[in-house]
Symmetry: C2
Subunit: 257 residues, 2 copies
Amino acid sequence: MSKINGVLLDITGVLKEGDSPIKNSVEAVARLREKGMKVRFVTNETQETKKSLVSRLSKMGFTLTEEEVISPCPAMAHELRRTGLRPHLLVHPTVLEEFDGVSTENPNCVVIGDCAEHFSYENMNKAFRVLINMSEPLLYSLGKGKYFREDGELVLDVGSYAACLEYATGAKSKIVGKPEPTFFQTALDMMQIKAEEAVMVGDDLVSDVGGAQGCGIKGILVRTGKFRPADERHPEVKPFFIADDLHHAVNHIISLL
Amino acid sequence: MSKINGVLLDITGVLKEGDSPIKNSVEAVARLREKGMKVRFVTNETQETKKSLVSRLSKMGFTLTEEEVISPCPAMAHELRRTGLRPHLLVHPTVLEEFDGVSTENPNCVVIGDCAEHFSYENMNKAFRVLINMSEPLLYSLGKGKYFREDGELVLDVGSYAACLEYATGAKSKIVGKPEPTFFQTALDMMQIKAEEAVMVGDDLVSDVGGAQGCGIKGILVRTGKFRPADERHPEVKPFFIADDLHHAVNHIISLL
């Protein structure tokens, strides 16, 4: 078995829930760093900017920099600047600034992120009309999560709303975020390690564990956040390890060193 | 070819759009009756009660009775009373009265209708949570339309929002409404005619024309309402006839008598 040199961590449901750190998760991240592990935070968070996310996590006691966070909005903005595509942005108002300098005039694609209460009928119809008027509807979805846990309750995630637009228009979403392989590869490249030297810890069986394992990264599922008991009996995605929480996961990772 | 004895008419996009009758449609329905045709109005309308719909159409000049209208809410309420299922109702507030007497305590299924602006993130999350907490999520969808035209603009229909809940929960909707065969069969039974004696006129290629033709009823597509030119090149659904509007469709039907 290869030596483990890097750990990829999901944020919501693993490090924190809402504005509270999950028990012992601050210490668990600190222990990984003490052991000399490279750490990256690989999130599908699109309700706030990277800057705001890092600031909020820092206040909870986590030590991290913006450069260590891989999130969909900056990756999407990069792709839009590279291709010159002009998006209709169906994203949370707080992340609009991540798209500064991207032209949205006369849009020729739609970008959908997690909009929470901004997933109104009116906003969905606006995005729908842009797509239905294109000869080949082009839809980018910032992740494909079904739901997540927030303030103790499950809520619909961006992937479910993307499915609504797909059904209505016949578009097939292009994913920017987990479980898309290039997203994990970006983290590996930044750490300058190979897939077999890395472990991903997440609460989403498909996006975190399945996505990572599809790239050859070991996937650890935690029983926090959106975890549901049925996840342990999934017919296709079999985690490398299932941990009660991040603390437990880190103990297991350290035992492998 | 069999003699035509009955005509099934879709309402929105065929007879009217918003609160206005489509040009010559009032006269077209009257001509069918003059020719001795049995007429039924087969609609997936779930934003208003059958009573309100008939009253509104009457004010526009159409002659029809509530008994001639086949719509999803009364059919769904009948099914709920028959089975004793207790729904969580994600339906437009104006049609709640169609479900009078149906218990919604401790729900064991979800019924989704066209809610328009009531398709809020909050309402979608409530329905989602009922489904995700069931061991076998049971979702009834009042139609499976992708979108329709309202006040000159295309808007998302119930089928698209059902697709959102299906993706999130793994449920597969049971359809009550077009294009479900029993819905068309109800109209045939009421008219006491066979499928080959009937014609369906609609603006929805899949729900109206495809649904009808799946039952052996001839399907006429009209180029009004939600019709889009691409509908004429659909790889699977080939209408019996394509008419500019209901007036044109009725001329064609009469020419077959």
